[in-house]
Amino acid sequence: MSERDIGEVILDVRNISLSFGGVKALQNISFDVREHEVRAIIGPNGAGKSSMLNCINGVYHPQGGEIAFLGEVRSDMNTHHAAESGIGRTFQNLALFKGMSVIDNLMTGRNLKMKTGLLAQAFHLGPARAEEVRERKFVEHIIDFLEIQAYRKTPVGRLPYGLQKRVDLGRALAGEPRLLLLDEPMAGMNMEEKQDMCRFVLDINDEFGTTIVLIEHDMSVVMDISDRVVVLDYGSKIGDGTPDEVRSNPEVIKAYLGESH
């Protein structure tokens, strides 16, 4: 782990509860995320990890609790606010824009930054053009960073899974998030791909200084790259701390070893 100065708490989740109909997905979960750290949420399937993320960036609306991001306290986020205030997000089951090329997917990720109006667009006036080029430059950075130059114009649908994951990550980065939520970024990857992804995550964290919250159930990976870990099981928090603390937490061990794979 490279020595990085972990800053103040930027995201504070306070006793969040969420339920669909009768099913309790989350039961008053609380944890915080500090500026510039890599925070992991782990837990067996159905532990409510994704639901947690969905609450943080406003896809779901928790019935109880509140979320404070950059000091701003909200009972529930809405996706637009989340994005505007700098929360980026990747998806567990790829949610790319299948019909569009890699470049367009990333440019779309940049959408919030683009402001020129309908008419300027329609007539492709100076401002619109300039903006297009400016943002394109930025996006090209990300493309280089993720090493997907070769696929710029390829429709994402045609890319192999691993690469699609990268594009997904790139699209999130394009929004220059302060907080990046990664939903199982390594799910279904082979070893090399996983290593690449780890590298990317850490580099993002280093170079862009992005704070990262990631979900993963591959313990080993998580333990390597994250500063602190939250453990969920059946919608409630059973552990929180540095990888080592969590590793030695009996409940966690029970939860994981209890259900033998």
Binding site: F20, N54, F91, Q92
Partner: protein, 345 residues
């Protein structure tokens, strides 16, 4: 979630109910009011019959079958013309015998149609997105319209169920002028009810019926029970074809069989919206609601509007059903009985 939605629905329902009852207090004769109500219900029955076809197919194959109206036309034409020709061909006595035989043959034809559609349209397009399939059924519509008129002719043909067309008046003692009832409408209702019961039995009791329900619920599951999807589809489309035949017969006996029947499909759309794409009871109830809503609005809401804005005539029933369905969608997108689904991330 659900709790949040019931409020608006109740509101909408209340408004509709109020609108429904309003005429009684604005001094229109109760007798006439009841007549309009009945008229609406009768029209509703026909809509239900067409909507039923929609629902059956949508349930089992997820296809939004625009061709249902064309199928009604085609079936009705087949029935009418065969009933007319058979006596000449095989010397079977005209009237009921001919009609009965014609009905059987027409049913057979609809099965053939279903089979062809499955072969030529559905199978190649399986797993395409719904819009493509919708388009395909539009193609089917065009084909059936042309084909039907080619082999059966494009004139107005009669289906004679031998029911007197003259109106009968009941309860003249209670209401001045009595209440007008048309025997045809009654027969139509009886037939429709019978059909619905038949379908219900088919779906509940027979193995095929249960299989169909399985498919409707979940295609994989269906396959795992070992039902070839293709056959299911043929069956469903045949059933829909049969429903179309009945609808065509009822409608044709009332107003004659002619190309314009195909337009019925459009009448059935708001019905399925209202009732939900996947619910048979929805189709029935939706049909009745739309039928009543249309006639009521036309008769009682139309004239005031015309006066108010000096319109060139009423005719609001043309859009009333759709606007009603639209309002309904806004408060309850999944329809009256349709099951809702939340998309996950």
């Amino acid at each position: 979630m659900a709790a949040k939605k019931n409020g608006p629905i109740a509101a909408l329902g209340a408004v509709l109910a109020a609108g429904l009852l309003a005429p009684l207090f604005t001094g229109s004769a109760p007798g006439f009011y009841i007549e309009v109500l009945l008229g609406g219900l009768m029209a509703g029955v026909l809509y239900s019959l067409v909507a039923l076809g929609f629902v059956l197919i949508f349930k089992a194959s997820g296809v939004f079958n625009f061709a249902q109206g064309a199928m009604v036309l085609f079936a009705a034409l087949a029935l009418a013309r065969l009933a007319e020709w058979l006596p000449g061909w095989i010397g079977i006595p005209a009237g009921y015998p001919a009609l009965a035989l014609a009905f059987v043959l027409a049913a057979g034809i609809m099965v053939a149609v279903a089979w062809v559609i499955e072969r030529v349209v559905l199978r190649p397009l399986v797993a395409q997105d719904p819009v493509a399939l919708l388009m395909a059924t539009l193609g089917v519509t065009f084909f059936l319209d042309g084909f039907g008129q080619t082999i059966w002719g494009s004139n107005i043909y009669a289906i004679n169920l031998g029911i007197s067309k003259d109106p009968t008046f009941i309860l003249p003692s209670v209401f001045q002028g009595g209440i007008l009832i048309s025997k045809e409408d009654l027969v139509a209702t009886v037939i429709a009810t019978a059909l619905v019961i038949l379908l219900a039995l088919f779906f509940q009791k027979t193995a095929t019926g249960r299989a169909l329900r399985a498919v409707a619920d979940d295609h994989q599951a269906a396959q795992s029970i070992g039902i070839p999807l293709n056959r299911i589809w043929v069956i469903v489309w045949s059933v829909a074809g049969f429903v179309a035949l009945v609808a065509g017969m009822v409608w044709g006996s009332k107003l004659g069989v002619q190309f314009s029947i195909a337009q019925l499909a459009l009448k059935a759309l708001p019905v399925v919206i209202l009732g939900g794409f996947t619910s048979i009871p929805g189709a029935i109830v939706g049909g009745l609601i739309i039928g009543v809503g249309e006639k009521m609005s036309e008769v009682f809401l139309g004239p005031p509007l015309v006066k108010l804005w000096d319109l060139a005539g009423g005719g609001i029933e043309n859009w009333f059903a759709y606007v009603l369905a639209l309002l309904f969608l806004m408060v309850r997108p999944e329809g009256l009985f349709g099951e809702k689904h939340i998309d996950r991330v």
